[in-house]
């Protein structure tokens, strides 16, 4: 069930270049499924006006966590919240997916958040993880302790996650793959991966107005016309997403 509620922040922790916000809520773990997200905003404030779509990082019985990258006024304000401050939360939203027991995750930067959440539903797999700087790489040990092989790359040292995937193409054969990262990364991976598996999926991100399929603003170009991230996604088959 989708709900719109005002909920308190119970933890704000700096995590590498990001902020982890934990929000008190006893219901989300019963409602949310793999692949879904929430819209988050500030109560009694018209500025910033829109709610922000944010993926779950994790969900516990008494709370759920979000990972925030500062990239505008809204996310800036979110990262400055104190324990006890309240947020408007709309969700869970989006079409859920049924994750495989094992598979390959490919993350770029903050794209690690939904894939971390997905990994909690999996028993093992491989994570390809790229970021700008070494200090941006999070959760490596955490993933390894849960049966994942972690392969990382940083732009300051060696290259992009697309380079990393290109070096390990044989691993992709026949596997289910899940990707989340910037559009440029998805575009590069689309060209590389196509021949190795028919089962690649991508978490798409777009500016959103409503999160509920109302405003048609979160359009993604696909082979069969525009689709909506908040309603048809956020997870799409990679082969459908069109960059022409």
């Amino acid at each position: 069930m989708v709900t719109f509620r005002i909920l308190p922040v119970i933890e704000n922790r700096v995590l590498g270049p990001y902020t982890l916000l934990r929000i008190k809520d006893r219901n989300m773990h019963k409602e949310a499924k793999c692949g879904q997200f929430v819209m988050v905003g500030f109560p009694s404030s018209l500025d910033p006006f829109l709610l922000r779509p944010l993926s779950f990082l994790s969900i516990a019985e008494d709370s759920f966590s979000l990972l925030i990258k500062k990239k505008g006024r809204g996310t800036e304000k979110l990262s400055e919240l104190s324990v006890g401050d309240e947020l408007k939360i709309l969700g869970p939203l989006g079409r859920y997916i049924i994750p495989p027991k094992s598979g390959i995750l490919i993350a770029g930067g903050i794209g690690i958040a939904p894939l971390y959440y997905q990994s909690l539903w999996m028993s093992h797999g491989i994570l390809f993880y790229g970021a700008k700087r070494k200090r941006d790489i999070l959760f490596s040990k955490d993933f390894e302790s849960r049966g994942f092989t972690v392969k990382t790359i940083t732009e300051e040292e060696r290259g992009t996650v697309a380079d990393l995937v290109r070096e390990n193409l044989e691993i992709l054969e026949g596997q289910q793959i899940f990707i989340c990262g910037p559009d440029a990364m998805i575009k590069a991976l689309k060209d590389i991966i196509g021949g190795y598996t028919k089962q690649a999926f991508v978490y798409m991100e777009r500016r959103m107005g409503c999160g509920l399929g109302g405003c048609k603003s979160c359009a993604v170009k696909t082979d069969s016309g525009y689709k909506l991230v908040c309603q048809d996604g956020p997870v799409f088959p990679l082969k459908e997403v069109s960059y022409d």
Partner: protein, 298 residues
């Protein structure tokens, strides 16, 4: 019991709160109880399906949003088959917002509309190449479009105007003369956002439509201008965020109001606003909307 019902165009709405076109769709039934609403206006429909504009399609501005959706919709035929049956179950008055690139298109689409409470004619969308604001800026074209729609339907016809007309009153008068039974004032204000990283407009079509609290005083003045000069009822739209805003619109002359962008920031706003108007009336000792309005009419 407080009676919030309003009458216009031969219809009786249970309250004056209407969901505006383009901001909601059926998934909102998961969160809003539509039976409580005065009415809803569905997303702009055209004769043929429209893809809409390339993303990005929306961005925030201080206290509002600007959009360049481009009237993405499935077209009237698919709508009639797939969506209309579900809209009829909502338990509220349903209006269809229609759009055409030519007067013939307006005629054709009007003749295909059935089983709804009324039609809202969109001659005010800034996000399309043809039709839209280009029709709504010119009183003569506004007259012809309205007439074409009225000739092809027995349903009540509301015309939704653009604040970009040089004289909105003249356009409203033309629509009344052509047979409109109400005016919606107003659609979004044409506006621009530049991406400072690229130095270029954020939207591919350059112009977007500005809405939300940022436009409230501007839209309110348009409602005042139209309702002071035109005989048919005016439905207010633009920046309404709470019940105080609704009262302002009533006192400016609106018969009913539409809620648009506010549902992005608070999807429960429509219900809260209806509850708060009821509470206000109770506290002031009014038993219906007429009494609320009368307190300023003297």
């Amino acid at each position: 019991m407080i009676d919030l019902s309003v009458n216009f165009a031969g219809l009786k709405l249970k309250n004056p709160v209407i969901l505006a076109s383009g901001v909601w769709d059926l998934p909102y039934t998961k969160i809003i109880d539509f039976k409580k609403l005065g009415g809803v206006i569905y997303k702009g429909l055209s004769l043929m399906p429209r893809e809409g504009n390339p993303p990005p399609r929306i961005t925030e501005i201080p206290c509002g949003v600007i959009n360049s959706i481009g009237l993405a919709n499935k077209g009237i035929k698919v709508f009639n088959r797939e969506v209309l049956p579900e809209l009829k179950e909502l338990g509220t008055e349903v209006f269809l917002n229609i759009f055409g690139e030519s007067i013939e298109e307006f005629s054709k689409i009007s003749s295909l509309i059935r089983d709804v409470s009324g039609i809202e004619v969109n001659i005010s969308c800034p996000n399309v190449e043809k039709g839209g604001v280009y029709f709504g800026r010119d009183p003569e074209t506004a007259y012809q479009v309205t007439k074409a729609v009225c000739e092809n339907t027995d349903l009540p016809v509301i015309v939704k105007l653009t604040p970009a007309a040089s004289d909105i009153v003249v356009v409203a008068e033309a629509c009344q003369e052509a047979g409109a039974c109400a005016i919606t004032a107003v659609n979004t204000f044409p506006g621009l956002v530049i991406d400072i990283d690229s130095g270029k407009p954020l939207f591919e079509r350059v112009v977007g439509g500005v809405s939300g609290p940022a436009i409230k005083p501007l839209a309110l003045y348009k409602v005042y201008e139209v309702s002071s000069n035109v005989g048919i009822p005016v439905i207010g739209s633009g920046g309404i965020g709470n019940y105080e805003d609704v009262l302002e619109y009533f006192f400016a002359g609106a018969t009913a109001i539409q809620l648009g962008s506010v549902i992005f920031t608070n999807p429960l706003a429509p219900i809260e606003i209806i509850d708060n108007i009821t509470k206000y009336a109770k506290e002031k000792g009014y038993s219906n909307l007429k009494e609320i309005r009368r307190c300023v009419d003297g």
